[in-house]
Amino acid sequence: MEKHVVVIGAGPAGLETSASLSKLGFRVTLVEKEEATGGHLKKWHALFPTLLSGKDALESITKELNSTIKIQTATKITGLEAVNDYFTISGHNGWQEKADAVVLTTGFQLFDSHRKEEYGYGIYENVITSADLEELFASGKEFVNRHGNKPERVGFVHCVGSRDEKVNNLHCSKVCCITAVKQAIEVKQLLPDAEIFCFYMDLRMFGRHYEELYKEAQEKYNIQFIRGRLSESTEDHEGNIVVKVEDTLLGKPLRIKVGLLVLMAGMEPRAGTKSLTTMLGLKNVPDGFIQPVDEVLRSNFTEIPGVFVAGTCSGPKSVSDTLADARSAALAVADYLKS
């Protein structure tokens, strides 16, 4: 009989895993809690490092899905249990399936920047997040701040909600440094007269052509990089944001006014993922992401045979990392089901 795999979460990871599994000859059901598939990717206007349009990227990933894959959207998982050598999965809407293997591709959640109150998100109008900025880019509207002005200066704050034990996130979100560089360039393209500043602790340009993009940001766009983590921001009477950092390379405190401040919100494990892992009996680890049995050699395997993991639910990844991880998970599943 044709073996059946249930993939939970239809972001880039879930879509790619499903397509690959289907190509390998398995029957696949892809479950998504939202109305639409695509995960975070549907919100991104353009992707680093090539500025490939997010929409196009999602389209080409989705194109690989074939009609035998059953896509079960708007379904919240309420039950997930290992029974002998198969799994039973049920949704809030009465949907129910048996599966020979399960792949968890539930992704990440964007850090809620309200939690860094001292940065002023939700308090000062001209403090926005990187996700808000993508939305602004995608809308195609004129680039103005919330006061309707073209900002003369734009600041990007790295590591918001990442590398910060005050919000219980020690991990680095990996993609936000390069995203900041990408977004800084895009802003500069829209506002050639604006001055752009990135406030960083470390610049983590880990991928191919990321360092090049960083260099381009310096060379072509004159983007300024200031090494110092924001402590707090205030608002002046004109609605500008006054930022406080230490210019750590100079060893001096620095105050600077910007018309728009963009917070590079990090990736967090989803709250909902924890309830799935709890149903399965997987152990929770301090950082909250799903823990594979071995991060180096068996990154798609969990402690429970038949339960696999792919994409950002097991730690921050870029889209290309995510897709590769998804294909690798499909092979791991195939290996498991054929033996």
């Binding site: 034990e165 090494r227 060893g251």
Partner: protein, 118 residues
């Protein structure tokens, strides 16, 4: 190892180099023992950016930590004496360094050092 006479002040011949080998590293050891979170600092500068004392004077806890770790302890007591212990730094530190206790422990270690020297 003999200690090189150091030239402070503003003369052009001022030794710009950190003479790591000649420096006194005992104070750092004492402080680290008393407040182990010293080692967790990643020099992000948030403490200095938010610092209540830092608004009025040249004082950076981040720099103090680095100087201590390099054994550059001369004049460090003057630096830490500027702290008001207000605790803002502790509230913003992303690495949960116990900054207030750190300041106290540095002051104490330097004070003890002064006492034993005199």
């Amino acid at each position: 190892m003999e200690k090189k006479p150091k030239n402070f002040g503003y003369s052009v011949t001022r030794d710009r180099q950190i003479d790591f080998d000649a420096n006194n590293h005992d104070i750092c050891k004492i402080v680290t023992k008393a407040e182990p979170t010293l080692n967790l600092c990643i020099s992000c500068g948030s403490c200095a950016a938010t610092c209540t004392a830092g608004q009025f004077t040249d004082f950076s806890l981040r720099q103090v930590i680095l100087l201590l770790r390099r054994g550059e302890t001369k004049d460090l007591d003057k630096e830490v004496s500027k702290c008001m212990l207000c605790g803002k730094c502790q509230l913003v530190c992303p690495r949960n360094v116990s900054t207030r206790n750190l300041v106290i422990q540095i002051s104490k270690a330097l004070c003890d050092n002064r006492m034993s020297a005199s």
